[in-house]
Amino acid sequence: MSAPTATVPPEQEPSPSFAVRLGVAQRAGGIVVPILTAVLAFLAGGIVVAATGHNPWTAYRGIWQGAGFNWLFHVPWDTNTVHLDAFNLSQTLLVTTTLILTGLAVAFPFRCGLFNIGGQGQYLVGLIVANWVGVSFASWPTLPHVLLGVGAAAAAGAVWAGIAGFLKAATGAHEVISTIMLNWVAIWGGQYLFGQGGPLQNTQNPAAPESGAVAQSAHIPVFWGSPELQGLDVGFFVALAMLVVFWVLLNRTTLGYEVRAVGYNPDAAAYGGIDVRRSYLVAMAISGGFAGLAGALDMLGYLFQFGTLDVQASQIGFLGIAVALLGRNTAVGTGIAAFLFGGLLYGTTRGLDPNVFDPSLAGNLTSMIQGLIVLFVGADIFILYLWNARRKVRSRRRRLHEAAAA
């Protein structure tokens, strides 16, 4: 018996949802599109730099050096006379550590069909809890003290995101709205806790609205550079390990199977016997765990103390969104995107030689490149639309010609 095996023509396909079309467009683009996206964003950024009367080549060279990439890839045009390459790279990797985790905090729920905008809040909750554990229990030995701080912070992040997951599961409340609201709760909570008279304010200087300093026993060991000069701590390897955990969780566990099934098609998942609402809750909690861990590694790795102004200024959790988008919500992609953004972030701030390029300008350049990347990633679908519109315009023009000829 031979059943026909004709492929399904376009006319038979039901019109797919936006998310599915985006997914297809992204997969069709494969690895080329994210690279192209980044290149385009850098080109556009360069044009703006040129428009302001600066030399884009100098600016990017300054950022490259500021990020310490010279240490990895020594380029002949190296003009860095100070030779801080190793230090700069260690600082880039410090930022990369955080971005990997805040990126995973967005990527994981994305695979379950959820958009976690709350990475910043979950990160802050992790910071706060890690600070509290680090300041307290000062008599403990290092290993249990660090483990307790990291574990408690990750758990707190999980609970924080879990609230949004629970609301989604129980009432259908949209996770975008609830995570944004939870961000503000975390930000104002941090303001209160670290502020004057707050429960976690430091005891030495009542005038300073900042937390106490983490005890030496809770400092994560530094393996590259000097602990006094904010060297790179072993938290970096924890972040790398989390990339592996992310992949294993998604692809080698039943939980990951459920998360992916729900993310692609909740109706089919429910039909398969999967508890969709539980998956939402679990995916959000795991996501918050990643973000909380990021907060812990920052607090116990190099920050040690945090003020209310720091709470307000912190943006690293939001950057995780750009990292996950550029990394296409995969482990490898998130790792690479985190490194890119880490370099960009550090290379335009403290690492940048002010003689090469004005750092205040450079900071704006970073924000712009971030924005453009997010825009371009979201534009996949828009580009498809333009492509179709172009064809329509062309055929209309052809008809006009035909009409004129007739």
Partner: protein, 508 residues
């Protein structure tokens, strides 16, 4: 009757990435003729008509209307040229009246601004008399039946001066009675000199209504034949390209013990409306029980309740002799031995982005051998997939092919393979052949019968009355959430169709 050609499509070619939907197709329509376009799903019928109607642009070929070459860029151009199309899915506004819908866009107005309601209704009434299409001009569209909505669509086209009418799968949504009425309408349109393109994949109705029949297969025109001398077998062979067994050969059933028992089941839909109102029946091992009914009479909710996807309001469900108490979930039902071929394989039956192997594991991924203590073993999934792909003749890909890449028929084979391979006590098949072509339908029917013959209980829910009549050993008619009739195999279409519309049976 004039033999004048009103419409001609010459060498129409339309390519989509990876497929030629129309490959130099010729088609012509004479004045006062019904010309059927017959082909399986995906044969290119809709593409051809979309080209004609200006919805898509052909890559090659020309369209000639009444001897003049034309090039339509939108449906408006086509309408202006006297072509009207009635789509499979109606494009009516439910909150407006019949008359308002018909005149929409070309309304008669008072003082150039206000809609002249009375005039609109008068014109519509006149039109409906002229063509023998009975409608009530003042009724809201949301309150009239599907068959009447279709008449409104036809009137809409006629109101815009259509001389050529394209009916795209017009009977897909109709009951047998409504279909018979539609055929009458088509004949009266013909008598009035209109020309009709009748798109269908159903052989019997094409033979009933058409003057000439053009068969498409995989984008190519196979032949155009007059109705006289055409047979179902011959047309099916042209459609599929090989001999097809049109009639289901089945042995008498050997019903054994009860596998599924439903008692006084009440189910509400998402809006809180009671869609299943006290249904009781049972299905025995070794028999197929068919549920016939017009769409929307509670079939979906009934199936969802039996498969654990929707909590029933009240009632009792027992599978293989065990009553399920308390909160019933899909997984509990699966574990109790209910298999389910869902009515919408793309929305529910498959995760299209998943591979075939992952889709085949959808019910069993959480237990050995697929996984142990939460760890998934992809190699085991692949093993099963390789086995089932061979056993169920799934074509077009291997275990790692995403389900999206398969044709509709092969996607359904994946669903059938998954459900049948679990060896369920009772298999609920909801519209198992919807959207499939003749060859794949034959496959699914044979599989269902084979399952029955190996002692499985099957509950077949279908909107295709033919399917229920030819497969089921017992037929239940569902109307407004109640079972209004029960028939043995061999019941006539008229009998069952009458009850599907809510007609009461005479003392039987």
């Amino acid at each position: 009757m004039t033999e004048q050609t009103v419409l001609e499509l010459r060498g129409i070619t339309k390519r989509y990435p990876g497929i030629v939907a129309n490959d130099h197709v010729d088609f012509d329509l004479r004045a006062g003729e019904v010309h059927a376009l017959l082909g399986e799903n995906g044969a290119g019928k809709s593409t051809l008509m979309n080209v004609l109607y200006g919805l898509t642009k052909a890559d090659e070929g020309e369209t000639i209307v009444r001897g003049r070459p034309v090039s339509f860029s939108s449906a408006r151009d086509a309408i202006a040229a006297g072509i009207g199309m009635v789509h499979q899915h109606f494009m009516l506004i439910p909150v407006m009246t019949v008359a308002e819908n018909i005149v929409l866009g070309v309304e008669p107005s008072r003082n150039g601004v206000l809609l002249d309601e009375a005039d609109a209704e008068r014109r519509v009434a006149e039109l409906s008399r002229q063509f023998g299409l009975a409608v009530e001009p003042g009724a809201l569209v949301s309150t009239i039946s599907v068959g009447q909505q279709q008449r409104v669509e036809i009137l809409k086209a006629l109101y815009r001066g259509a001389e050529i009418l394209v009916l795209d799968e017009p009977t897909a949504v109709l009951t047998p009675q409504e279909a018979a009425e539609l055929f009458e309408i088509v004949r009266s349109l013909k008598a009035d000199g209109k020309s009709v393109v009748f798109i269908s994949h159903k052989l019997n109705e094409v033979l009933e209504v058409a003057d000439r029949i053009t068969v498409l297969r995989r984008g190519r025109r196979i032949d155009t034949v007059p109705r006289e001398g055409a047979t179902e077998e011959g047309l099916a062979r042209m459609m599929v390209g090989r001999e097809v067994l049109l009639r289901v050969d089945k042995a008498p059933p050997a019903p054994a013990e009860v596998a599924l028992e439903v008692e006084d089941l009440h189910v509400r839909d998402d809006r809180g409306l009671e869609k299943v109102r006290g249904v009781s029946f049972s299905v025995r091992r070794g028999e197929i029980v068919g549920i016939a009914g017009v769409d929307g009479n509670g079939q979906t909710e009934l199936v969802e309740a039996i498969t654990g996807l929707r909590a029933p309001e009240s009632g009792r469900i027992a599978v293989a002799g065990t009553t399920l108490h308390g909160r019933v979930t899909a997984r509990r039902m699966l574990d109790a031995g209910v298999g389910h071929i869902p009515e919408d394989r793309q929305r529910r039956g498959l995760v299209l982005e998943f591979t075939i192997a992952e889709n085949l594991a959808l019910h069993d991924y959480h237990r050995p051998p697929d996984s142990r203590r939460g760890w998934l073993f992809p190699a085991r999934l692949l093993e099963r997939a390789a086995r089932l792909i061979a056993e169920f003749d799934i074509r077009g890909g291997g275990p790692l092919t995403p389900a999206r890449a398969l044709s509709g028929g092969n996607q359904q084979k994946v669903v059938v393979a998954r459900e049948v391979a679990r060896n369920p006590a009772v298999l609920v098949a909801a519209q198992p052949t919807r959207g499939l072509d003749v060859g794949a339908i034959e496959y699914v029917h044979r599989r269902l019968l084979a399952e029955r013959d190996t002692g499985h209980a099957i509950l077949l829910v279908s909107l295709e009355l033919d399917e229920v009549l030819s497969l089921a050993d017992r037929i239940l008619v569902l109307y407004e959430g109640r079972i209004v009739g029960e028939h043995a195999a061999g019941a006539s279409e008229a009998e069952v169709g009458f009850e599907m519309l809510g007609g009461r049976r005479q003392a039987a």
